[in-house]
């Protein structure tokens, strides 16, 4: 396979369940080593897309290829190099974490020693000989993550991977994912918690009612959305500088605090003014969050639909 060929590609993919159109006309491609977030509300089609990529379901229309194959063919070699963490992953409660992971490792044709190493890596080493029935939600999630990482996958599909994880484990997960991406693994993850994706993914695909409403890097989406940038200023004294008004909309969240919103183009001018002014004691730059971008694109779409 050529190196420049994307690992995962979708062309006009649609999936209907009876009258319900779960996914419609979705096209995007993910190169090797990309870290991409699939963002959308419940029922936007994130899980359906992942199931399509895994070949668990067949598209009603369009084509998709994963690791150079049509996933619906279910080629063993393709599946061996794919890792998937389902949303709300469940396991048979009667078996221990180690037994389950060894079972999954053997299914992928991997040595059992790899399973032990992975259990340590996700922090389940001590609990590996306990039954999964007694695991907490976070521990099940970590076991799910471990099975997804089996056999050094070339593409990882993680459906809501951080639900139920402690902040510490969550950070550990993201650093693990960035290591994997460095090594050339494509990571596609879906999430609700947009603020934590900031800085963890390089690209965001926003889905709404089964279709893509925006696709690009966070910076590109910011540029497209043209949402106001906020400047939070702390005053040294009482008096508000006179240039506040003309610069943009002003809000006062607390005594001595001001928030000035401005267009992306006006940002540098405003910054120069603020840094040159001795009445400003402190300054924070707040670019639009992913949350704001997300609601912006959804709003755009709803307006277009009307």
């Amino acid at each position: 396979m050529k190196a420049d060929l994307p690992l995962i590609g979708l062309e006009g993919v649609a999936k209907r369940y009876g009258a319900v159109e779960a996914v419609r006309d979705v096209s995007f491609s993910l190169p090797a080593g990309a870290r991409v977030a699939l963002v959308g509300h419940n029922g936007a089609g994130k899980t359906t897309l992942m199931k399509l990529m895994l070949g668990l379901i067949r598209p009603s229309a369009g084509r998709l290829h994963v690791l150079g194959q049509d996933p619906a063919e279910g080629a063993a070699e393709t599946r061996r190099r794919l890792g998937w963490l389902p949303e709300n992953v469940t396991f048979n409660p009667a078996l221990t974490g180690r037994e389950l992971l060894c079972f999954f490792a053997r299914l992928k044709g991997e040595p059992v020693s790899g399973a032990d190493a992975l259990l340590e890596r996700v922090g389940l080493g001590a609990a590996s000989r306990r039954r999964v029935g007694g695991y907490s939600k976070g521990m099940r999630q970590r076991l799910g993550l471990a099975q997804a990482l089996l056999g050094s996958p070339r593409a990882l599909l993680l459906d809501e991977p951080t639900t139920g994880l402690d902040p510490e484990v969550r950070q550990g997960l993201y650093s693990m994912l960035s290591d994997l991406a460095e090594g050339g693994t494509t990571v596609l993850l879906s999430s609700h918690a947009l603020e934590e994706l900031e800085g963890q993914v390089e690209r965001v695909v926003i889905l709404d009612h089964g279709s893509v409403v925006a696709d690009g890097t966070v910076a590109e989406l910011r540029r497209l959305a043209r949402l106001p940038i906020r400047l939070r200023l702390t005053l040294a004294g009482e008096e508000a500088p006179e240039w506040f008004g003309p610069a943009g909309a002003v809000r006062q969240p607390g005594p001595g605090f001001f928030e000035v919103s401005c267009t992306p183009e006006a940002k540098m001018e405003l910054l120069r003014q603020a840094t040159g002014d001795r009445r400003i004691a402190d300054l924070d730059l707040l670019p639009p969050t992913l949350d704001e971008l997300y609601s912006h694109f959804l709003r755009l779409r709803q307006e277009a639909a009307r």
């Binding site: 369940y17 199931k51 895994l54 668990l56 379901i57 279910g74 063993a76 070699e77 599946r79 061996r80 794919l82 998937w84 389902p86 709300n88 992953v89 469940t90 396991f91 048979n92 009667a94 078996l95 037994e99 079972f103 999954f104 053997r106 299914l107 992928k108 044709g109 039954r131 099975q147």
Partner: protein
């Protein structure tokens, strides 16, 4: 094949962990031992081999119990895993759907076989240790009874899978399984008897009756064990029926095997088409 064996191994391990194996073995052993010693007391006087009596009473018991145990462990096998979400993850692995069905079947069959052999074997062992020597023919009848009991279980495991592959939720699967058990184990024979009495031998020929008996795995099993073996036949009161029937032991065994294979293949085919 490797995938099939891995799934089978996991199923056996789960069965042992869930105490299914233990519960089924203990139940079968307890009932078998009770029947053995209750039945041995009068039989000792009339000179019938004690083990032959055991074969008759145990096969009458198996007809009720093994289908029940088999349906209990199998009705949930596919739909239950679908509902819990474990099936989806399993299918994302390099494993075909028929491999999952076959693997589970082998696992469940092994659980059933171990329970039957240990449970009934305990009764035979107790008899061999306490009573007079047992003729080789009786041992053979006993071994055939255990083997056909496992086959009967296999048929109902396969039927349970077919139900499990067809329905959308576990409750429905359980309901159909109970209905299937009632139909096959109780209602069928009563209906057949009613038919024969009402018909007075006018239109139902012996061939038709044979066919109706083969259409139910429990009847095939019953005929095989109670009428198929000469010494046992005298004891079981099935001599008259067996005399009129053209069904030989191999035909009956083949029917049982067919009852295991056809629903299993159907279950695999239905599951392969199922939308996940």
């Amino acid at each position: 094949m490797r995938g099939v064996l891995l799934v089978a191994g996991k199923e056996i391990r789960e069965g042992m962990r869930n105490r299914w194996v233990l519960a089924a073995t203990l139940l079968l052993a307890a009932l078998a031992l009770t029947l053995t010693f209750l039945g041995a007391a009068p039989a000792g006087r009339v000179g019938a081999s004690a083990l032959d009596v055991v074969v008759v009473s145990l096969s009458s018991l198996s007809v009720f119990l093994l289908p029940l145990i088999a349906l209990l462990i199998s009705h949930d096998a596919i739909v239950g895993e679908m509902e819990r979400g474990t099936m989806l993850l399993l299918l994302s692995y390099p494993l075909a759907r028929w491999q999952v069905v076959l693997g589970k079947f082998l696992g469940h069959l092994a659980i059933l076989a171990v329970a039957t052999i240990l449970g009934y074997g305990a009764a035979a062992l107790a008899l061999a240790l306490t009573g007079p020597a047992i003729a080789p023919a009786s041992w053979q009848a006993f071994a055939l009874m255990i083997g056909s009991s496992v086959l009967l279980g296999a048929a109902f495991v396969a039927l349970g899978y077919l139900v499990s592959a067809l329905v959308r939720d576990r409750g429905t699967a359980a309901g159909i399984a109970v209905g299937l058990w009632l139909l096959m184990v109780l209602i069928w024979d009563m209906a057949l008897l009613g038919l024969l009495v009402a018909d007075q031998g006018e239109s139902v020929t012996a061939g038709m009756l044979d066919l109706l008996l083969l259409l139910n795995p429990t009847d095939a099993y019953r005929l095989f064990n109670l009428a198929g073996l000469a010494d046992v036949r005298m004891l079981s009161g099935m001599a008259a029926l067996a005399g009129n029937s053209a069904l030989s032991a191999p035909v009956l065994l083949a029917a049982l095997v067919g009852w295991a294979l056809v629903p299993l293949l159907a279950a695999a085919a239905v599951f392969a088409r199922r939308e996940l």
